[in-house]
C-alpha cells in the first residue's frame, strides 16, 4: 500500500505547489494520475517515490511510515521504487554507456552478482539489441534512451513503479512497447504502479483506475496562497 495523507509540498521560497492532497494506491494496483501541465502532479509523484520531502502530511509505504526522504531514507525503502521520468536526456548520465546506465543501481547497491547477464536480459526485454548497449546517450534516440531508463528502473526488481510522463516524448509505437514491458513486469511480480500523465486515453487504457488531479484538491486548498 502506498498511502499519501494530507500532503503539502513545494519548493523553497515559493508558496506550496499543492496542499492537503491524499492518494492511495493498493498493492499490485495501477493508478493513473491525470492532470494539466504545472498542476503539481509530478511533485506528488516525487514525494511518493521518496525523491522530494513534503512540507506536511504523511506517507506510508506498505504499512510503514516514511520519516526520511532522498538520501536520508533507508536503502530498503529507496530501492522499493523504480522511477521513470519524462525526459530521458535529463535523467541519464551522458558519460555512461547504456549498459552502465542500466547496471548503475546494481553497482550502487553492491549487488554485482551476474551483473552482466541481468543487464543483458533486461535490455533484451525492453528491446535494446545489438551494439546499442555499448553506446552513450548522445548516440541513441529519445525512444532508445527511454527504453534504457525503464530497464534501469526495473533492474532492482522494485515493488513499486512510478512513471512520471514516461511516454510524453515518445511516438505511438515506442509508447505501446514500453507500456507493454511495464505491464509484463507487473504481471510477473505483482508490483504496484503510479503512472502520472496528461493523456487520458493512454492512462484509461493502461491503468486499473484513473484519478483526476482536480478531484484530489479541495476547493479551499486550490485557492492561491497569496
Amino acid at each position: 500500500m502506498l498511502d499519501l495523507r494530507a500532503v503539502t509540498a513545494g519548493y523553497p521560497g515559493h508558496p506550496p505547489v499543492f496542499r492537503d492532497v491524499s492518494l492511495t494506491v493498493a498493492p499490485g494496483e495501477s493508478a493513473g494520475l491525470l492532470g494539466p501541465s504545472g498542476c503539481g502532479k509530478s511533485t506528488l509523484a516525487r514525494v511518493a517515490a521518496l525523491l522530494h520531502r513534503p512540507d506536511a502530511g504523511t506517507l506510508h509505504l506498505d504499512g510503514e511510515r516514511i520519516r526520511h526522504w532522498r538520501h536520508r531514507a533507508p536503502r530498503a525503502q529507496r530501492t522499493a521504487f523504480g522511477v521513470v521520468f519524462q525526459q530521458p536526456r535529463l535523467s541519464a548520465d551522458p558519460r555512461l554507456t547504456l549498459a552502465d546506465l542500466v547496471a548503475e543501481p546494481l553497482r550502487a547497491t553492491g549487488d554485482r552478482e551476474h551483473l552482466g547477464e541481468r543487464v543483458a536480459a533486461l535490455a533484451a526485454r525492453v528491446g535494446l539489441t545489438g551494439d546499442l548497449l555499448s553506446r552513450r546517450p548522445h548516440e541513441v534516440s529519445d525512444g532508445q534512451l527511454q527504453r534504457a531508463c525503464l530497464a534501469r528502473a526495473l533492474v532492482l526488481r522494485p515493488r513499486w513503479l512510478v512513471c512520471d510522463e514516461m511516454t510524453a516524448m515518445l511516438d505511438a509505437s515506442t509508447t505501446a512497447a514500453l507500456v507493454g514491458v511495464v505491464e509484463e513486469y507487473r504481471a510477473e511480480t505483482g508490483a504496484g504502479l503510479l503512472a502520472v500523465g496528461h493523456d487520458r486515453v493512454l492512462l484509461d487504457r493502461w491503468c486499473d483506475r484513473t484519478v483526476e488531479w482536480s478531484s484530489l484538491i479541495t476547493p479551499a486548498a486550490q485557492a492561491p496562497a497569496r
Partner: protein
C-alpha cells in the same frame, strides 16, 4: 498573387552527415512534397527517423558536416542554396517561423519572456516606440494564449506548457507565410495540445497565403489539424496521403503507417515489433522489411517511387483481415 502555387515545394531533398572515418549517415533521402497555401501538412514518424533534420535543412540550421541535395523552393528562393546572409536577414522569422521542439532550450534563460518577445517584435515588425511595443507584446502573447501575468517571468519559472506557448508566440511574431512546427506539442497535456494546434491551424486559416508544416510524433495532434499526412521512416517519406482517408477509412496504405496507427492507445495499442534501423547503416532495399509482416523477397529491392513507398501496400479498400 501566387495563385495556387505551393508555399513550399520540396524536390528530392536529401541530407547526408559525413562522420569521422568516412561513415555517412543518410538522415533524409529523396523527399518530395508540396505545402499549399492554407494547408497544413503533418510529417509524422518515430523518433530518430529524420523529421527534425528535414526541418533544420529548411532553415539552413544543419551542422557543418551535413551535405544536402535537391531543392526546397519557398516562392522563388531555394532554401538549400541560400547563403547564411539571406537566411538570416530574410528567411528565418520573416518567411519561415519556427515553433521549436524544446522551448526550454530555445528561450534565453537569463531574460524575461516579455523582453524576448519585445525584441523579436522590434526586429521583425515595423512596430516602434515603447508603448506600441508593449501593446504589441501583449497582443502577441495573447495570440499564443500565453498569460499576460507571466510575461515578466524567466523561462525556468514556466511550466513546460507555458514555455511552449512563449516559443509559439515568438514564432508567430513575424507573420511568416510558412510556419514550421517541430514537435510543438511534446510534453503538453491533451487540452493544451488541442489549444496549441488549434492556434496553429487558426493562424493558417486567418491568411490565405499561409501554410503550416508540422513535424510531430503525436498522431492525435496530426489528426486534429492536418489536411495531408506524410509518414517518414528511416529518412524516407513512405506515404503521403489525405488526412481524412489516412485516419478514417480506408486508412493508411503503407504497412508501417498502419502499424503506427495501431499502436495508439485508442486503437489496438500494440507496438510495431523491433526497432527502426540505424540511419548510418540502412539496408539496400525497403528499410521497414525487417519489421514488416508483409515482407518477402521483393522487399530486398527499393520500392518504386509513388505515393506509397511499398511493394505490398494495403489496398485502398480495407481487406477483411486488416480490420482486427
Amino acid at each position: 498573387m501566387t495563385g495556387r502555387a505551393p508555399v513550399l515545394s520540396v524536390r528530392g531533398l536529401s541530407v547526408r552527415f559525413l562522420m569521422p572515418g568516412g561513415r555517412r549517415v543518410a538522415a533524409v533521402t529523396d523527399a518530395h512534397f508540396d505545402v499549399a497555401p492554407g494547408e497544413c501538412l503533418a510529417l509524422v514518424g518515430e523518433s530518430g527517423c529524420g523529421k527534425s533534420v528535414l526541418a533544420s535543412a529548411l532553415l539552413g540550421l544543419l551542422p557543418g558536416n551535413a551535405r544536402t541535395a535537391g531543392e526546397a523552393l519557398l516562392g522563388p528562393l531555394d532554401l538549400l542554396a541560400a547563403d547564411e546572409r539571406t537566411l538570416a536577414r530574410t528567411v528565418r522569422g520573416r518567411l519561415v517561423g519556427l515553433v521549436p521542439q524544446s522551448p526550454a532550450a530555445h528561450l534565453t534563460p537569463v531574460r524575461t519572456i516579455r523582453s524576448q518577445l519585445a525584441e523579436t517584435l522590434a526586429a521583425l515588425t515595423p512596430v516602434r516606440g515603447r508603448s506600441a511595443l508593449r501593446a504589441a507584446t501583449r497582443a502577441a502573447a495573447e495570440r499564443a494564449a500565453f498569460p499576460a501575468d507571466h510575461l515578466d517571468r524567466h523561462p525556468h519559472q514556466l511550466s513546460g506548457g507555458l514555455a511552449q506557448r512563449a516559443a509559439t508566440a515568438l514564432a508567430l511574431a513575424g507573420d511568416a507565410p510558412l510556419l514550421l512546427a517541430d514537435e510543438p506539442t511534446t510534453g503538453l497535456d491533451r487540452d493544451l495540445v488541442d489549444r496549441t494546434v488549434d492556434e496553429l491551424r487558426r493562424h493558417v486559416d486567418a491568411d490565405e497565403g499561409r501554410a503550416l508544416l508540422m513535424i510531430t510524433h503525436d498522431l492525435a495532434a496530426a489528426e486534429r489539424i492536418a489536411d495531408r499526412v506524410a509518414v517518414m521512416y528511416a529518412g524516407r517519406i513512405v506515404e503521403l496521403a489525405d488526412a481524412t482517408a489516412f485516419f478514417g477509412t480506408p486508412g493508411p496504405r503503407h504497412p508501417y503507417s498502419r502499424g503506427l496507427l495501431q499502436a495508439l492507445p485508442d486503437r489496438a495499442f500494440t507496438p510495431i515489433p523491433g526497432l527502426p534501423p540505424e540511419l548510418g547503416d540502412l539496408p539496400a532495399g525497403c528499410a521497414f522489411a525487417a519489421r514488416c509482416a508483409r515482407a518477402d523477397d521483393a522487399c530486398a529491392e527499393l520500392p518504386p517511387a509513388g505515393p506509397v513507398l511499398c511493394h505490398h501496400p494495403h489496398t485502398a479498400v480495407p481487406e477483411a483481415a486488416d480490420r482486427a
